[in-house]
Amino acid sequence: MRGPYELVRARPEPEFEISVDGAGVPVVPGQTIGAAMHGAGIRSWRTTRFGGRPRGLFCGIGVCFDCLVTVNGVPSLRACLTEARPEDRVTTGTDATVGTDATDVTDGTDDAAAGDEGESEEGGTVGGP
């Protein structure tokens, strides 16, 4: 079957892998984390904090914030905007963990180490609530 690569006559550079919750996901250099996950058949990677509803890509261009992930301990990144890099470790989760330090305690960055309100301000995000 003719696919997108054939359509644009792509000669992709060698793929690398990122880790998504421990599983390998292939990436063509330049692809976003969200596109790589969606392309690998991962459709949902977060559950909402009230209803536990599954979420993945929706707007695809950084508007809706449904696709938030933690990458190498940096929380609340929009997967659809974040270009994947070799060695990336992506962790997913519920709203209770995405956006806080809870998933990142082993990372050792300022963001991840922030434990109480005072310290975690560096890792907090504004512009969302």
């Binding site: 079957m1 550079e13 392309g39 599954p54």
Partner: protein, 503 residues
């Protein structure tokens, strides 16, 4: 020392690149910023370099248009400072100088400020979704998302795809997905009941384009059905099927059937991205569809001196109109800053450009009139249908707020919290306004992109951006006056659903 440019341009799409190049050719010192890694905006989005795509134009309605854009982009690189991967989160104006607060990078972000004597806002638009039962199931994407995945990442949004919504944008989305190997099961257009034969593109004299789509849809055996809409999406953890309804004139369902699919690409027009112009205090006006757009004069000047806007932010009209508006803005900026446009540059005479803008704007208006959103979509909702995805606010909560006396969208928002989550109402704002019975107002968002607090702390400019005399509306994250960490800077990035809003 901070360099003060003549003109800063935000947005590397058709409008921004045309405006920046026009101004640079006229002798201005121009800086262009865009949050993305590659130029093009949404329309001219292209595959990542790692694909080495020999024919990126194959993904575009007009490969010729992409070539022209690419030429302008290359010319611009020789004549202006180009800052990709720079997200502008706030703009302020003090004493004739514009300051843009940016974050460089897409994760470990570095704060940066850019200053200029004038600003061209060319920030484009995003899909306008309507809520319906199941619209938050994984597998339901905006039409723009399906196209962005394909154009930028060469990823097919799904294998068996339904395309639905309203507007001519559905046609390139469906044709592009099918060309790239997806099985497109149908295009369901909520408006036109006559199919492609009576498509407004034909009436407006763009027969070639409409027939091109018709041929591509026919080649892939994709049915195009008017007066149809996806009124519900179903599945446990991901989409498995949708309910397609036949609609009456007002979009109320009169008959339904089920279509099995793994992906739905849906969109009901576009919302202009107005965060920066609203921050700067630019006057807005109602577009033909009732939505807010930036008010501009013939030179694309906004109501704020030194601030120009072009492209979708002044009214959704597509790439060709955006490019013309960008050129008009670039010329006006050059003239206003005292550099008459050099006749040697690739700039048509002003009257011809203006006529071209008028013609394209008239076409855009015809399309908006042909593809309105009709109120019957509200009948698609059930009590438990989420209208706000971020805060998981069901329709019933909106109706309860109204029963308690919330008479407008703002009061509904304060009582029931739709639009108070991560996306700040970008996704649900239109629907909430409709449910509250009013035209959507331009949302005031003092921060155009979420930023980490460290970036705020290291911001070079000690003064809050934006007009000083307009406090942020109650209940929105505000940088105006003294930010209250309890209100706006929640360290967990999560709102407390039970928090009262009278702080």
């Amino acid at each position: 020392m901070t360099r003060i440019h003549d003109l800063a341009v935000v947005g590397a799409g058709p409008a921004g690149v045309a405006g920046a190049l026009t101004a640079a050719l006229a002798g201005l010192d121009v800086v262009l910023l865009d949050g993305a890694a590659r130029p093009g905006g949404q329309y001219f989005r292209r595959p990542a370099e790692g694909f080495n795509a020999a024919r990126p134009g194959a993904l575009h309605t007009s490969g010729h248009g992409l070539d022209g854009f690419t030429r302008r982009w290359e010319l611009l690189g020789e004549r202006a400072e180009v800052l990709l991967r720079h997200r502008v989160w706030a703009a302020g104006r003090t004493g004739g100088t514009i300051t843009l607060h940016c974050l460089e990078g897409d994760r470990e972000e570095r704060p940066r400020t850019v200053t200029a004597r004038a600003l061209l806002i060319a920030t484009g638009a995003y899909d306008r979704p309507l809520p319906f039962p199941g619209w938050d199931l994984p597998g339901v994407l905006t039409a723009g998302a399906a196209q962005a995945l394909l154009k930028g990442d060469l990823v097919l949004a799904g294998r068996r795809i339904v395309v639905a919504g309203t507007g001519p944008f559905l046609l390139p989305v469906a044709a592009g997905l099918a060309d790239a190997g997806a099985r497109v099961l149908g295009v369901y257009e909520a408006n036109s009941g006559f199919g492609l034969a009576a498509h407004p593109l034909l009436a407006a004299g763009r027969a070639g384009e409409a027939l091109g789509y018709a041929a591509r849809l026919a080649r892939h055996r994709i049915p195009y059905r008017g007066r149809r809409a996806v009124v519900a999406a179903h599945g446990r953890d991901a989409l498995t099927h949708v309910t397609v309804a036949t609609l009456d004139d007002g979009w109320r369902p009169v008959a339904t059937r089920t279509v099995e699919c793994d992906t739905l690409a849906v969109g009901y027009g576009f919302v202009p991205q107005l965060d920066l112009p609203v921050q700067l205090g630019c006057a807005t006006r109602r577009d033909h569809d009732g939505g807010a757009v930036v008010a501009v004069d013939a030179g694309m000047r906004t109501s704020v001196p030194g601030v120009y806007a072009a492209g979708e932010s002044t009214g959704v009209g597509g790439a060709a109109l955006a490019e013309v508006e960008g050129r008009l803005a670039g010329r006006a900026a050059a003239a206003d800053l005292g550099r008459p446009t050099a006749p040697a540059g690739p700039v048509s005479p002003d009257p011809a450009l203006t006529r071209r803008r008028e013609r394209l704007a008239a076409f855009a208006r015809a399309l908006q009139e042909a593809y309105p959103v009709r109120p019957g979509w509200q009948d698609w909702l059930h009590d438990d249908t989420l209208v706000c995805r971020c805060e998981e606010v069901p329709l019933s909560a909106v109706r309860e707020a109204q029963a308690m006396g919330a008479a407008d969208a703002r009061s509904v928002k304060l009582l029931a919290r739709p639009g108070m989550g991560w996306c700040q109402g970008r996704i649900c704002g239109y629907a909430i306004s409709c449910l509250a019975g009013e035209d959507p107002a331009p949302a005031r968002r003092p921060i155009a992109h979420p930023i980490r607090l460290g970036a705020l702390a290291t911001r070079a400019d000690p003064h809050p951006p934006g007009p000083q005399d307009e406090p942020a509306p109650h209940g929105e994250p505000g940088l105006h006056g003294k930010p209250d960490p309890q209100d706006d800077l929640d360290p967990h990035g999560e709102p407390d659903p039970h928090r009262k809003d009278e702080s």
